[in-house]
């Protein structure tokens, strides 16, 4: 196992308020890592530091290091970082003014790919990889916003995958979806890890248990516990973790 992405003493602020307090964690290549913790513990801020989105907030500030294959992403061009580290959001957010296939290739078009045939091929492959192609192939020209919530979210995953990222960050990708769509996306995440490193925030501890190899528990901006998912749930080391996973708070 090799480390794909690693943070060293990562702290983050909103104005004067410190929301992350020196988090050091290493994510293994081609594994699914789940981030759990109560609302407001800094999970979202944490993954937004991993693709340099946190600094876009007014008053957003970051300290410490984030290493992608050993190189600090805070020394790189942020646009380049975001092409390598993709993101899927809590609420499905397809571009309403674009068709299904244009949504998928929106990022590719930015990086200069213009040939129509190539773009069609990329869109088809990405849609197939999220299992959406069969459902939408008859009308790829209709608006991405016309799909159901679950389909929209898979479209957004396809859009991120089309960039061929090395890491994909997911911020509670199923929290707005029904159970059937959720299980489709969970299945997809398990499949994805053969090619890609996945870091997923979830509010749902049983989801973390189902899909992840490792689980990290954040509480009040600190990393409380991090380890193999099986051990994490069977024999938590910290009493706070135990209370959280047994549902006594959060």
């Amino acid at each position: 196992m090799t480390t794909k992405l690693e943070t060293k003493a990562l702290s983050a602020w909103f104005g004067r308020k410190q929301v992350l307090k020196g988090i050091s964690i290493a994510f293994e290549e081609r594994e699914v890592t789940a981030l759990v913790g109560p609302s407001g513990c800094g999970k979202s801020t944490f993954i937004r530091c991993l693709n340099r989105m946190h600094e876009l907030n007014p008053g957003g500030r970051v300290d410490g290091k984030v290493l992608l294959d050993g190189a600090d992403i805070y020394g790189m061009d942020p646009m380049e970082v975001r092409r390598k580290i993709g993101m899927v959001f809590q609420k499905p957010n397809p571009f309403p003014n674009m068709s299904i296939s244009d949504n998928v290739v929106a990022g590719i078009k930015l990086s200069g790919e213009k040939k129509k045939a190539d773009l069609e091929g990329i869109a088809e492959r990405a849609l197939k990889s999220v299992g959406l192609y069969e459902e939408v192939k008859d009308d790829l020209r209709r608006s991405g916003a016309s799909l159901s919530g679950g389909q929209q979210q898979r479209l957004c995953i396809a859009r991120a995958l089309a960039m061929e990222p090395e890491v994909i960050l997911m911020d509670e990708p199923t929290s707005a979806l029904d159970p059937a769509s959720t299980s489709k996306i969970e299945e997809l995440i398990r499949k994805l890890k053969s090619e890609i490193t996945v870091i997923i925030i979830t509010h749902n501890v049983s989801q973390a248990a189902r899909i992840s190899d490792k689980t990290a528990f954040l509480y009040l901006g600190e990393l409380i516990e991090y380890g193999n998912t099986k051990e994490f749930f069977e024999s938590p080391k910290s009493p706070i973790t135990e209370r959280y996973i047994t549902g006594r708070f959060g």
Binding site: N51, G107, R159
Partner: protein
């Protein structure tokens, strides 16, 4: 209800008062000669002047307004933002007669020296740029109109652009987009229908603007039949009515001027209806799939 009644009253008044001119010769108003002595009232120059001066103003104002709005919402630091919004609001409250004075005394000589003379000197062989440069001209009216409608388009565009959903912005940013790419692919497409409506609103304002235009356009009733140069003095429906109505004695003269008012109302109404039609068609297509 009251508004509808009021509108019908105005409409009826214009129609009744312009009836004598229409009845005498329905097509005369579209002729090119306006000769009060001879009793010939052809308003083609004013109709064309209205359409052309407003179109040029829109042509100038749209890129300027969008550039300001994009700068304001996406790039400007917050201190500049506050200052800029005060300036935009102030510009919108300046009475049009003040714009007229400013155009007459300050912009006209500047335009004559720095725009009209150099362009007609070098590109004068193109008929629309030919000299001589008078200062007071169709172009000057368009420039003054531009100043008057830029605040309208800008302030509406700013509120539209800044209401772009943050999820969509972030989606584009997470794909590696630059600020400009977020504007181009997310914020502008999201706002374009509203911006179109703002432009139509501004066009309505430009078509109907009277005072400032009357003061700077030169009120020549020859254009565009003498020379089609945009540096020539011209006239519009509004400037024609404003400069002649109070001294018109001949009933056909009065009636013809009122017919101009009727035509102006028809033009602004059709611009408005067309805009509504386009907006409703387009928004159905966008959400109705």
């Amino acid at each position: 209800m009251v508004v509808v009644f009021f509108f019908i009253m105005i409409f009826g008044m214009l129609l009744i008062r312009s009836f004598p001119a229409m009845a005498r010769d329905p097509l005369m108003i579209f002729g090119s000669t306006w000769d009060v002595e001879a009793g010939i009232f052809g308003a083609a120059p004013a109709i064309i002047g209205t359409l052309v001066s407003s179109s040029i103003a829109i042509l100038f104002a749209v890129p300027i307004s969008l550039a300001i709005a994009v700068f304001f919402t996406e790039y400007a630091p917050s201190q500049i933002r506050t200052g800029l919004s005060v300036v935009i609001d102030m510009l919108a409250t300046i009475p049009s007669v003040i714009f007229g004075i400013w155009g007459l005394w300050i912009v006209a000589p500047l335009m004559k020296t720095f725009v009209q003379e150099p362009i007609s000197g070098s590109l004068g062989f193109i008929p629309i740029f030919s000299g001589p440069a008078y200062g007071l001209s169709l172009l000057l009216a368009s420039v003054i109109l531009t100043f008057m409608i830029v605040p309208i388009i800008t302030s509406i565009s700013i509120s539209l652009l800044s209401s772009t959903p943050v999820e969509l912005r972030e989606a584009m940013i997470s794909l590696g987009a630059t600020r400009w790419e977020v504007v181009r692919h997310v914020a502008l497409p999201f706002s374009k229908l509203g911006i179109f409506a703002a432009v139509m609103l501004a066009l309505g304002r430009a078509l109907g603007e009277t005072m400032a235009v009357t003061m700077v356009i030169g009120n020549s009733f020859m254009w565009p039949f003498s020379s089609i140069s945009i540096f020539s003095p011209a006239s519009t429906l509004t400037s024609k009515i404003a400069s002649e109505l109070y001294e018109a004695i001949d009933p056909f003269h009065v009636s013809s001027l009122i017919e101009l008012g009727f035509l102006l109302l028809m033009i602004t109404l059709s611009v408005n209806s067309l805009a509504r039609l386009i907006v409703s068609r387009y928004s159905q297509r966008r959400y109705g799939t």
